[in-house]
C-alpha cells in the first residue's frame, strides 16, 4: 500500500486530522469570542503596499495573476489578496487586469472584484472585461499574459497562487517592462524563479498568513494560531520520532504507526503482544 | 570615469545580447565535436546489457509516446535505442499513444532504418496510434492482430512479414518505453508476466521510477538526454545524446561565466566608486 485510500489505512491519519481541526477551530472560536490574537507582520506586506503606492503614481495598469490555480483553497486565498489590492487601487482609479487560466476562478473573480469596487465606494470603476480568462492551456495562457504585460506596460504585477514552469515567463516579462512585482506561491519549485525576478516573494505558507494579516478576520487569525500549534506538533513528532527510531529501530511498529499507510495493523499486533505479555 | 561606465554598462547589459549569446552558444555546441567521458550509472549499464542479451531475430516492442515538446530528451533515446536494436539484428515494432507521437516516431524510424537497410514490414513495423494504453496493452497481450488490426500504412497485421510466428505480446522479448508521461504503469500492470521492460523517461519523470528499478519491475533506465549520452558512450557511437548534452553543459558553463562576470563588474564598480 503506497497511499491513503481511506482513513482506515492508518487511523493515525484520522487522529492527526482531528487534532489539527480542533487546534484551528478552537482558536477561531477564541478569536471570535473577542480574544486578541497576535500575528507577526511579514515583510511581504510592506512590499505589497509599496508596490500599490508606486503603481498609483505611474497611472499605468496593475495586473493580478492567480496562476494556473485550479479552483480550490489556494484560489480563494489569492482572490482575498487581490480583493485587498483592488480596494487600494480603486481609491486612485488605477486600472487593473486580472488574468486567469481557470474558468471557475474567472467566474468567482468577477464577483470578488466587483465586490471590492463596491466596498471601496467606486462601483462605477468596475469593468467586467478587466477580468479575463485567456486560456486553460498552460503556455497559451503564458503567451497571452506575456503579450498583455508588454503591450500595456503594466506598473505593478502581482502573482499569487499555484504556478508551474510558466512562472518565469510572467516574472521576466514583468521585469522587462519595469513593473514592480510581488509573487506569493506555495509551489516550492517555482519560488527560486520568483526570487530571482521579482521585487519580493512570499514563500510557502507565508501566503496564507498574508491574507490573515490583511483582513484581520478573527477566523483567519485564529486559524493561523491553530496552524502554528499543528506545526509545533509536527516538529515535536519529528524530534520525538527520531529519538524513538534511534532507540527502537526505524522499522519498529510504533514508528510505522506515525504516518505510514498500513502502519496501523502491525502496531495493533505489537500492542496486543506487549499487553498480552504484560 | 571611462572605467566606471564600462562596468556599469556591463552590469546593465541589454538582455537581448544575452539571449543572442545563449542561442549562438547552443548552435555552436550542437555542431561541436567534443566528447567528455561520462559517469555510467548502474541503471544505464543494465539497460544496455538487457538489449545485448537478446538473440538476433528476437522481437522487441518500442512504445514511443513523445512529441515536439520533449524532443530534446526523448529523441536521442529513441535514436540510440533503434540503432542498438538494428546493430543486434533484432526485429522491432513501434506503437504510440498520441497522434503526434505516431507521426514523429514513424518519420524518424523510416529515416534511421533506411540507413541500416531495414525494410518496413519485413524487419520492423509501426502499429500506429491507439488512444487507450490500458486497452491496447491488455488486448495485445492476448492477440495483436485483433487488438491492432493494421499497421500505420494500413497493412493488415497478419500480412506483415515481421510478425511471422508472433501472435501476442507473450512472444515478445522486451518492451522499451520511451515517454514523457505516465505510460509505464500501464505496461507494468497489464503486460504478460514474463515480458521485460526497460524505460526511457524525461528527467522530470525519472525520480518516480527508482522504486520500479529497485523492485526489478523495470530492468534498466536512461534518463533524458543525459542518459542517452551515457548509453551512446556504451554503444560507442556519437549520437544526439552526446550533441545535446554538450549543448546543455556548455549553456551551464555560459550561465556560470556570466554570473561571475556580473559579480566582477559589480565589484570593480564599487571599488572605483569608493
Amino acid at each position: 500500500m503506497g497511499s491513503y485510500q481511506h482513513a482506515q489505512d492508518n487511523w493515525f491519519a484520522a487522529f492527526i486530522i482531528v487534532f489539527i481541526a480542533a487546534a484551528v477551530l478552537i482558536n477561531i472560536w477564541r478569536a471570535r469570542a473577542g480574544k486578541q490574537l497576535y500575528i507577526r507582520r511579514i515583510p511581504g506586506l510592506d512590499a505589497i503596499d509599496e508596490a500599490i503606492g508606486r503603481s498609483t503614481e505611474l497611472g499605468r495598469p496593475v495586473t493580478m495573476i492567480p496562476g494556473l490555480t485550479a479552483f480550490g483553497v489556494e484560489a480563494v486565498q489569492a482572490l482575498t489578496i487581490f480583493k485587498y489590492i483592488t480596494k487600494q487601487i480603486a481609491r486612485f482609479a488605477t486600472p487593473m487586469r486580472l488574468l486567469t487560466a481557470n474558468p471557475t476562478v474567472y467566474a468567482v473573480a468577477q464577483e470578488a472584484i466587483s465586490d471590492a469596487y463596491n466596498e471601496a465606494g467606486r462601483p462605477d470603476l468596475y469593468d467586467p472585461d478587466s477580468i479575463r480568462f485567456l486560456s486553460s492551456e498552460q503556455f497559451a495562457f503564458a503567451s497571452g499574459v506575456a503579450g498583455l504585460l508588454q503591450r500595456e506596460r503594466v506598473a505593478a504585477n502581482f502573482m499569487f497562487g499555484i504556478f508551474f514552469a510558466e512562472s518565469l515567463i510572467f516574472a521576466e516579462t514583468g521585469n522587462i517592462v519595469g513593473a514592480v512585482q510581488i509573487a506569493g506561491t506555495v509551489s516550492f519549485t517555482q519560488v527560486p524563479f520568483f526570487v530571482a525576478a521579482c521585487d519580493y516573494t512570499i514563500i510557502g505558507d507565508e501566503f496564507y498568513a498574508t491574507s490573515a494579516y490583511i483582513s484581520r478576520e478573527p477566523v483567519l487569525l485564529g486559524s493561523m494560531v491553530g496552524q502554528d500549534l499543528a506545526k509545533l506538533a509536527f516538529g515535536s513528532l519529528v524530534v520525538g520520532g527520531a529519538v524513538l527510531s534511534t532507540i527502537l529501530g526505524p522499522n519498529h511498529p510504533v514508528i510505522q504507526l506515525l504516518g505510514k499507510p498500513g502502519g496501523w495493523e502491525p502496531f495493533m499486533q505489537w500492542l496486543s503482544q506487549v499487553l498480552g505479555r504484560g | 570615469m571611462e572605467q566606471r561606465t564600462l562596468w556599469s554598462r556591463m552590469m546593465a547589459i541589454d538582455r537581448r545580447i544575452l539571449y543572442l549569446i545563449l542561442a549562438v552558444n547552443i548552435v555552436g555546441a550542437l555542431m561541436a565535436r567534443v566528447v567528455l567521458e561520462p559517469n555510467i550509472p548502474p541503471a544505464v549499464r543494465s539497460f544496455y546489457e538487457t538489449i545485448e542479451a537478446l538473440q538476433p531475430g528476437d522481437i522487441v516492442m518500442v512504445s514511443s509516446t513523445w512529441s515536439a515538446g520533449t524532443l530534446a530528451e526523448n529523441q536521442p533515446q529513441f535514436e540510440a535505442v533503434l540503432r542498438h536494436l538494428m546493430r543486434k539484428r533484432l526485429r522491432f515494432t513501434i506503437i504510440s499513444f498520441t497522434p503526434p507521437a505516431r507521426d514523429i516516431s514513424h518519420r524518424l524510424a523510416r529515416r534511421l532504418t533506411r540507413e541500416q537497410g531495414y525494410v518496413e514490414g519485413k524487419d520492423w513495423a509501426h502499429f500506429g496510434y491507439t488512444p487507450d494504453i490500458v486497452l491496447a496493452v491488455k488486448g495485445m497481450s492476448e492477440d495483436i492482430a485483433q487488438a491492432v488490426r493494421q499497421d500505420v500504412r494500413r497493412v493488415p497485421i497478419q500480412q506483415l512479414e515481421v510478425m511471422r510466428g508472433i501472435k501476442s505480446l507473450k512472444d515478445y522479448k522486451l518492451v522499451v518505453d520511451i515517454t514523457p508521461s505516465d505510460t509505464l504503469t500501464a505496461w507494468i500492470s497489464f503486460r504478460p508476466r514474463d515480458l521485460k521492460i526497460i524505460y526511457c523517461p524525461t528527467s522530470v519523470m525519472a525520480a518516480e521510477a527508482y522504486t520500479f528499478l529497485d523492485s526489478k519491475q523495470i530492468l534498466g533506465m536512461i534518463t533524458g538526454a543525459k542518459g542517452a549520452y551515457e548509453y551512446e558512450h556504451l554503444l560507442g557511437i556519437v549520437g544526439l545524446g552526446t550533441r545535446f548534452i554538450n549543448a546543455i553543459q556548455f549553456s551551464h558553463v555560459l550561465i556560470i561565466t556570466f554570473i561571475l562576470l556580473g559579480n566582477f563588474a559589480m565589484f570593480m564598480q564599487r571599488r572605483s566608486r569608493s
Binding site: I39, G72, S136, F139, S143, D205, G259 | R243, F244, H252
Partner: protein, 226 residues
C-alpha cells in the same frame, strides 16, 4: 539546388514543417520586443488552444462521465448533473446570478472534502519519513549504517526544525527563536538555489529541442551521426 528544392515548402510535409518553423520564430520574436508578428501568433495560439480544449473536454468528459453512465448503466440521477452545472451560466445575470453560487459552493465543498485524503496521502508518509531518521546506530538495524548517514540525519532534523521555525507567525521572533528563524531563511535559500541549478538542465533541453527542430527539420542540417 537539390537542397533548395527539398527545402522549399513544395509538398504537404515540407509545408507543415515550414509552418512549424514560422510559429517558432514568431514566438521567439518577443525576445527582441513585443511586435505585430508575435501578437498575431499569440492570438492564434490562444484561439487554437481554446478551440482544441472543446473536443477532449466537452466530448470526452461529458460523454464519458455523463451520457454513457446514464445510457448504459442507467444511473438516472446523473441526469441532474448537467442542468445543475448550467446554473453557473447565470453568473452574468444580476437577478439570478446568486444561483451560480450554489454550484460554486458545491465545488468548494467537494474540494474541501477531498482535502482530507489528499492531506493524508501527501504529507503523512513524508512525516513518517522524517521522523524515522536514526540519530545514532539503532539496536537491531537491518543493513549497514554508516556514520555519514547518521550525520546526514542530524543535518536533516536540524534543518527541518530551523525552516519550520521560520514559518511560524503567531508569536514575535526574538532571541534564540529569531536566530533560528534567520538560519532557517538562509537554509531556505540553499534549497532554492539547488532547485534553480537543477532546473536549468531541463529548460536548456527545451531550447535545444527547438533549435534542433529549426536546424534539422527545417534547414535540414544533419547533426549527430552514429
Amino acid at each position: 539546388m537539390d537542397w533548395l528544392l527539398a527545402f522549399l515548402p513544395l509538398n504537404f510535409e515540407r509545408t507543415s514543417i515550414w509552418i512549424g518553423a514560422i510559429c517558432t520564430l514568431a514566438i521567439y520574436s518577443i525576445l527582441y520586443r513585443e511586435n505585430p508578428f508575435y501578437r498575431l501568433f499569440e492570438h492564434m495560439f490562444v484561439g487554437l488552444a481554446a478551440g482544441y480544449a472543446l473536443g477532449p473536454n466537452l466530448v470526452d468528459v461529458i460523454y464519458r462521465f455523463w451520457w454513457e453512465p446514464i445510457r448504459q448503466d442507467g444511473i438516472w440521477w446523473l441526469s441532474f448533473v448537467v442542468p445543475f452545472g448550467m446554473y453557473l451560466y447565470f453568473i452574468y445575470n444580476e437577478k439570478y446570478g446568486w444561483v451560480s453560487r450554489i454550484v460554486i459552493g458545491a465545488l468548494i465543498g467537494a474540494s474541501a472534502g477531498l482535502a482530507f485524503q489528499a492531506f493524508s496521502s501527501r504529507y503523512l508518509p513524508q512525516l513518517q519519513g522524517a521522523l524515522s531518521k536514526v540519530l545514532w546506530y539503532p539496536p537491531n538495524s537491518t543493513g549497514e549504517i554508516y556514520i555519514s548517514t547518521i550525520l546526514n540525519n542530524w543535518i536533516f532534523v536540524v534543518i527541518l526544525l530551523a525552516v519550520l521555525t521560520y514559518f511560524t507567525f503567531s508569536f514575535e521572533h526574538r532571541g534564540a527563536v529569531k536566530r533560528t528563524a534567520t538560519l532557517g531563511r538562509w537554509l531556505l535559500m540553499i534549497g532554492l538555489g539547488a532547485i534553480f541549478g537543477n532546473t536549468v538542465m531541463a529548460r536548456m533541453a527545451l531550447l535545444i529541442g527547438r533549435v534542433y527542430y529549426l536546424l534539422d527539420s527545417w534547414l535540414m542540417v544533419r547533426i549527430g551521426g552514429g
